[in-house]
C-alpha cells in the first residue's frame, strides 16, 4: 500500500515571510502608495499593491491569498521602478504569496492552465510539437546551424524562445535575426528541438515548480555543449538566464538581440543601405526597458536605419506603458476581460497611433501579437504596423 503523501505546501505565515530577507522587505514599505498609483491595474484591483503589502505585514495573509488581486500583476516592474524604498515587489516580494493564489483559485483560468500544462509537456505554451521547434529554420535566409550538428564550441548560443520559434509573426523576427547575425558574421548556433521555454512567465505567475523543472532541463542541455554566451530575443528569457538561472550555478554572459546588435552597429552600418521611409515610434518593453534600462540601444539602431524618422510616445523609457503580456498576462486576457479590466495593449496602441507613426517598433516577441490585435480592435491597422527592431534592420540590409 502507498503511504499517505503530504504535499500541500502550507500557506506562508507572517513569521515565515519575515524569516527571509525577501519577506523582510515588507517592513521597509512606507505605505506611500506610489506603487498603487503607478500600477497599470491599480485603479481596477480591489487591493492595490500598497494595500496588499499593508495586509501582509499585518498578518492578513489568508485575505491576500483569497483575493485574486495578485493575478492582476502583469510584472511590468513599474512599482519596483518607482518605489522610493526600492522594494522588489514585482519579482521577489509578491511572488512569495502568488503560488498560493494560483492554488486556491476555484478554477484556474483555462488559457493559463493550458499554457502552463503545454509548457510542462511540450516545452512551449502553445502546445506545439517540440519536434517542430526548429521548423522555421527551413525558411531562414541564412544557414542556422544546430549546435548538436556543429560538433564544436560556438561563440553565441542563440535561444530563439517560444514565440519566435512557433508563432508565425514571431518567426519573421527569428528569420530577421538570423539574417542580421549572418550579416555581422557572428559565430552562432541554436539548440533546435532541444530548446525549451526559459520559464520566466511561469515563475512570475506563481508556478515555481514548473520554472524549476524547465530550468533543470535547460541547464542540463546547456551542460552538454560549449558556448561563450547566450543570446535571446525574448526579454523574459533574458531575465531568467541573467538573474534566476545563476542561482543554480549558471555562469555565462547573457545578451538580448537588440543591445547585442546595437553594440555592433558600426560593423553593420555600411550594409544598411535600403531606404525604409518609415516614421517609427519605439515601445520600450517593461523587461528590456524598465527592468534592464536598455532604452538607448534600440533607438540607436532605429536612428541608423536609412529613411527612418523616430518619434516618441508620451510615455517612454522608464515611464513606458505595459503591453499586459508579462507574468502570465499573455494567457489571462479572458480572465481580465471577465473582471472588467481594460486591455493594456489597447492603451499603449492608442498612444502609439497618436504619434502619427506608421511603424510601432518593439523588442519583445510578446508585443507583436498583442499590439497587432489592439491595432485591429482600435481600427488603426490600416495606418500602423508592428515590427520587431530586428525585422526593420533586416529590411534595411542590402541584398
Amino acid at each position: 500500500m502507498a503511504q499517505a503523501i503530504v504535499m500541500e505546501a502550507p500557506a506562508p505565515t507572517l513569521a515565515g515571510l519575515l524569516a527571509s530577507p525577501a519577506g523582510r522587505q515588507l517592513l521597509s514599505c512606507i505605505q506611500c502608495g506610489t506603487c498603487a498609483g503607478t500600477c497599470p491595474y491599480g485603479d481596477v484591483m480591489r487591493n492595490t499593491p500598497r494595500r496588499l503589502i499593508g495586509m501582509l505585514r499585518e498578518g492578513f495573509i489568508e485575505e491576500v491569498i483569497a483575493s485574486d488581486d495578485l493575478l492582476s500583476c502583469v510584472t511590468c516592474y513599474d512599482c519596483w521602478a518607482k518605489c522610493p524604498r526600492g522594494l522588489r515587489l514585482t519579482d521577489v516580494l509578491l511572488p512569495l504569496v502568488k503560488e498560493q493564489v494560483l492554488l486556491r483559485l476555484p478554477q484556474m483560468p483555462a488559457e493559463l492552465q493550458s499554457a502552463l500544462s503545454n509548457t510542462l509537456r511540450y516545452g512551449n505554451p502553445m502546445g506545439e510539437s517540440p519536434r517542430k521547434r526548429a521548423a522555421w529554420v527551413e525558411s531562414a535566409p541564412v544557414p542556422v546551424p544546430l549546435l548538436r550538428d556543429l560538433g564544436r564550441p560556438v561563440d553565441v548560443l542563440w535561444i530563439v524562445e517560444c514565440y519566435a520559434a512557433y508563432y508565425p509573426r514571431g518567426q519573421d523576427n527569428a528569420r530577421a535575426t538570423a539574417r542580421v547575425l549572418g550579416a555581422l558574421g557572428v559565430d552562432f548556433a541554436i539548440l533546435g528541438n532541444e530548446e525549451k521555454c526559459a520559464g520566466e512567465c511561469a515563475r512570475l505567475v506563481g508556478e515555481a515548480g514548473l520554472f524549476d523543472t524547465l530550468r533543470e532541463q535547460n541547464l542540463a542541455t546547456f551542460g552538454k555543449y560549449e558556448f561563450a554566451r547566450l543570446l535571446t530575443s525574448d526579454p523574459h528569457a533574458f531575465d531568467a538566464f541573467s538573474y534566476v538561472y545563476p542561482m543554480l550555478g549558471f555562469r555565462r554572459p547573457v545578451e538580448h538581440t537588440t543591445p547585442f546588435v546595437a553594440a555592433r552597429l558600426d560593423d553593420l552600418k555600411p550594409r544598411l543601405t535600403r531606404e525604409l521611409g518609415y516614421r517609427v515610434t519605439y515601445h520600450d518593453s517593461c523587461v528590456l526597458g524598465r527592468h534592464n534600462h536598455m532604452h538607448d540601444q534600440p533607438r540607436r539602431i532605429l536612428e541608423a536605419l536609412p529613411g527612418v524618422t523616430l518619434v516618441e510616445m508620451t510615455h517612454s523609457r522608464d515611464n513606458t506603458i505595459c503591453c499586459g503580456g508579462g507574468g502570465g498576462g499573455m494567457w489571462l486576457d479572458t480572465f481580465y476581460k471577465a473582471k472588467g479590466h481594460p486591455r493594456l495593449s489597447d492603451r499603449r496602441v492608442e498612444e502609439a497611433a497618436a504619434t502619427g507613426a506608421d511603424v510601432l517598433a518593439v523588442s519583445c516577441p510578446y508585443e507583436v501579437p498583442r499590439f497587432e490585435d489592439s491595432l485591429k480592435v482600435l481600427g488603426c491597422d490600416d495606418r500602423m504596423v508592428v515590427r520587431d527592431v530586428m525585422e526593420l534592420v533586416a529590411e534595411a540590409l542590402a541584398e
Binding site: M1, A2, Q3, A4, I5, M7, E8, A9, E99, L102, L103, Q107, M108, A110, Q113, L116, S117, L120, R121, Y122, G127, E128, S129, R131, E207, A208, G209, L210, D212, T213
Partner: protein, 259 residues
C-alpha cells in the same frame, strides 16, 4: 464511499502519426503518449465526489510510456492510491485489455469491491467506446456510458446520473451502487495541479506496480493493415493584400458561375 478510476494512455496527436514499416502499426520512433482526455474527466469527477463526500479514490492504469507522470499527477491532485498494471501489451486490443484489466482488478488486494468505477467512455483508439463496458461486463457490473454529471446520495447508496444523447437530449438515471460509469465530461474541466506537487509525488514514489493476471490477454482481432487516409483534395489559400484576395475570390466565384 470507494471510487476506482481506470485510466489509459493514447497516442498524442501533437506529433504526426506515421505508419510503421510493418504496415499495420504506428511508428514508435517519435510517438508520444498522453492520457485519454475522457479518463482525465473521469478522474476529475472522482475527485469532485471526494471533495464533497467521504470518498477514497484509487487510480489504476495499464503500463504505457509516460504513464507514471499521469499516476503521480493523479496522486498530486488528491487520489489516494495509484496502481500501474504491467504486462498488458499495448497492441493487445480492446477486448484483451479489458479481460486482462478485469482479471487483474479482481485479484488486487483491497481494490474491489468499490461503489463506483469511473472511466472515459471513449478514446481516440477506442472510438466505439468498448473498453469500459467490456470491463464492466467482465466484472458483472451495470454500465452506463456518455455520463456528464454524477450526483451521489451517500446515505442511500445511489446516484443521479446525466447522460447525453444525440441531438442535445439529456437523460437522467437513478442508479444503485455498485456501478460502472463511462464518463464523457463533468461539471468542470480537469483541475490544474502545480508542478511542485507533482514533483513531490514523484519524490514520494507512491505509484504501486502490479503484474497483470496471466493468461487473460487473448486478442481475437488482428490488424492486417494500417494506412493514412488518402488525400482527395485540399483547400486553396488565397494570398496577398485584402484587395488582391477580394479580386481572387470574385474570380473564383465567377469561374464557377456563381456571380
Amino acid at each position: 464511499m470507494k471510487i476506482l478510476v481506470l485510466m489509459k494512455m493514447v497516442p498524442d496527436i501533437v506529433e504526426e502519426l506515421e505508419v510503421a514499416a510493418d504496415g499495420k502499426s504506428l511508428d514508435r520512433e517519435y510517438l508520444r503518449f498522453i492520457v485519454n482526455e475522457r479518463d482525465d474527466y473521469a478522474l476529475e469527477q472522482a475527485l469532485l465526489l471526494k471533495d464533497r463526500l467521504q470518498a477514497t479514490v484509487t487510480v489504476v492504469a495499464p503500463e504505457a510510456p509516460e504513464i507514471d507522470d499521469v499516476l503521480h499527477t493523479a496522486l498530486a491532485k488528491g487520489a489516494d492510491r495509484a496502481i500501474r498494471v504491467s504486462g498488458i501489451a499495448e497492441a493487445a486490443g480492446t477486448r484483451a485489455t479489458a479481460a486482462a484489466l478485469a482479471a487483474t482488478l479482481s485479484g488486487l488486494d483491497g481494490v474491489l469491491p468499490v461503489d463506483l468505477i469511473l472511466s472515459g467512455c471513449q478514446a481516440i483508439d477506442d472510438l466505439d467506446g468498448f473498453l469500459a463496458p467490456l470491463i464492466a461486463e467482465a466484472l458483472d457490473l451495470p454500465y452506463l456510458g456518455l455520463v456528464s454529471r454524477i450526483s451521489v446520495d451517500p446515505g442511500a447508496g445511489t446516484a443521479v446520473v446525466s447522460k447525453e444523447y444525440s441531438g442535445g437530449v439529456m437523460g437522467r438515471f437513478e442508479i444503485a451502487f455498485p456501478a460502472f460509469l463511462g464518463v464523457q465530461g463533468c461539471e468542470k474541466p480537469p483541475r490544474y495541479v502545480p508542478v511542485a506537487k507533482v514533483r513531490a509525488a514523484i519524490a514520494a514514489g507512491g505509484v504501486e506496480v502490479v503484474a497483470a493476471a496471466s493468461g487473460t490477454a487473448v486478442n481475437p482481432l488482428e490488424v492486417t493493415s494500417m494506412a493514412k487516409p488518402e488525400e482527395t483534395g485540399h483547400a486553396e489559400m488565397l494570398e496577398g493584400s485584402v484587395r488582391d484576395v477580394a479580386e481572387k475570390v470574385a474570380e473564383v466565384l465567377a469561374a464557377r458561375g456563381l456571380l
